[in-house]
Amino acid sequence: MVETLYSVAHTLVVLLLGLLGPLVPGSGAYGPFLAVWLSYLVVGALVFAVSLVNVLVFIWWERKLLGRFMDRRGAMHVGYAGLLQNLADGLKLFRKQPFSPREADDLGYYFGPTAYLVISIAILGFLPISFGFSGGAVPLSLLVALALFSFAPLFIFIASWSSNNKYSLIGGMRTAAQLVAYEIPLLLSVVAVVALTGSFDLNVIVGDQAANGWFAVPLILGLIIFFIAMLAEVERIPFDLPEAEAELVEGWSTEYGGMLFAFTMLGDYVRALIGSYLIVLLFLGGWSMPWGLSSFPLSGIVFFQLKTYAVFAIFIWVRASLPRVRTDQLLQIGWKRMLPLAMVNIIWALALVVWGYPVIHWPAL
């Protein structure tokens, strides 16, 4: 049995219930039931906390790096080097009154960004930050994560349609078209990784890379395709057509203010976090480091986070450098360039397997 977040939480909860149970009369009858659901709660809270802290640091990292790229300094005054600026902004958004436009459909208007954020954070329960640091040992964790990842255009479209605003609707339709178009090269470049490892389990994929070297070396083409497709999936510049400020006011989140806007913003950054995590997990070796660097306690998490921030730094670098593409260019890049290249990548991966790339079939967890 691998120690996962769930098993650790379950052990702790059972211990705590054993201590507190005698104090609460009649709680013994619900003991196992309570233990299971309390450990679910603990795991959920842990994943939520980790993701939100990471998102806060991500926004700070983007502000500082973008400032440097633009010959500014970024956030400076709240906290050390502006680290608490995002908390201050969040507090400001939290204090605002929630409202909806008169003609909007309230159910979809409130449901859209909330579900967008929730489904994005739920993915993080399946992504291991280090060995076993995930909600549970899921044999198909990569598949589940990517399946949940592709739910976003549905909720974005619900939110934009319910807003009853022309700009929102155009942004939502662009989002749907873009995200569906770039799912295909994204998934096809994942196929090459799965072909080399023979497993959908992210723990196995990382273990394979720890043994045989990072997939960024044999699958460099796949890494580039995955990176570009992920840029489009998380709607960042140069693929930020759904939020094109010059054309659509704020894209699909035009009508949102206060905490709902914070939800859309958080959702964007959580998805960027997931994108960075996936790139690190699939191509950059996850928490493994060569030369025995990852043999110290907790070094796996440290190296994983360092790699994640490095990948996100490249996201920011691209954002600071490149202009937004047109719609026709977007679809041309997606269908005419990325899709054939992804096919070439799959054929290359299969050829590697045929030529004897050492596929290690790890024991089932």
Binding site: R68, F69, M76, W317, S321, L322, P323
Partner: protein, 263 residues
């Protein structure tokens, strides 16, 4: 004609160049910018900018050779907040008259010894820092200084009373050059003698006291002719002392003073 056509047609750029020009080149530029920003200050940070007015700090800042100003320095003739020497102000109104933004108002000010006089009060909410007032000031008492830290949260605090401007003056910041040289053959104040009633208003209000009232002989009345009712005096302008403020023209009740070429 065929040759012209061949010249105007350009070959399409190969896709490699397009990728290089639109992806690699901008990313390289941005990366260079990032590396530069690591060891040199990006901007003058507002709250710490005041130390730039400290001479010792300014000496420590290195300026690239040949450049008149580098990071962390201010031009000596930078037009910032005004300094006003209340003691030498003559209340001539020229600053308010020359202001294109009408941000200067002449207000009563304690001149010491129980006396009051009009001195300029400047609203920096309107001021465009053009420096015309400083150029117009004949006494050199209203000058522009390099001070620029005038930002506040309160709109009323943007209005600088003469005393506050005097505080700026007393801070002894470097001042930009005072009044530009007067042009030659400048217009002078002329008098229409037939209209003047000798009321002394011009001499009373002249800020430089360069107008003196001189007695003129009372003509003898001829039979049947009525002499005008007036005081038999006439203003005379001491031209080298005149600052051309025009106060005498504006206060004259009979409009007998006017600008004109020197006779």
């Amino acid at each position: 004609m065929v040759q012209v056509h061949e010249k105007t047609v350009k070959k399409a750029e190969p896709p490699e160049d397009r990728v290089k020009g639109m992806v690699v080149y901008p990313m390289a530029i941005v990366a260079r910018q990032f590396v530069k920003s690591l060891w040199r200050p990006s901007t003058i940070l507002y709250p710490f900018g005041e130390r730039l007015e400290n001479e010792d700090f300014r000496k420590t800042v290195k300026v690239e050779s040949g450049a008149p100003i580098g990071v962390g320095e201010i031009w000596d003739n930078y037009r910032g907040v005004h300094g006003l020497n209340i003691k030498t102000c003559i209340s001539c109104n020229l600053c308010a008259f020359s202001c294109p933004d009408t941000c200067i108002e002449m207000v009563n000010t304690d001149a010491g010894g129980g006396k009051t006089k009009k001195c300029p009060e400047i609203d920096y909410g309107k001021c465009s820092f053009c420096g015309f007032c400083s150029d117009a000031c004949p006494e050199g008492c209203l000058t522009m200084t390099p001070g620029y830290t005038i930002t506040t949260n309160d709109r009323a605090h943007m209005v600088y009373s003469p005393q506050r401007l005097f505080e700026v003056y007393k801070a002894k910041l470097s001042q930009n050059p005072t009044r530009i040289a007067l042009p030659e053959n400048e217009d002078v104040i002329l008098l229409d003698q037939d209209l003047c009633i000798g009321c002394n208003a011009c001499a009373r209000d002249c800020p430089t006291k360069c107008i003196t009232m001189i007695d003129i002989p009372k003509p003898e009345s001829k039979p049947g002719e009525k002499l005008p009712k007036r005081i038999w005096k006439e203003p005379t302008v001491n031209d080298p002392e005149c600052v051309r403020c025009g106060t005498c023209i504006s206060v004259c009740p009979r409009e007998c003073l006017y600008w004109g070429a020197r006779k």
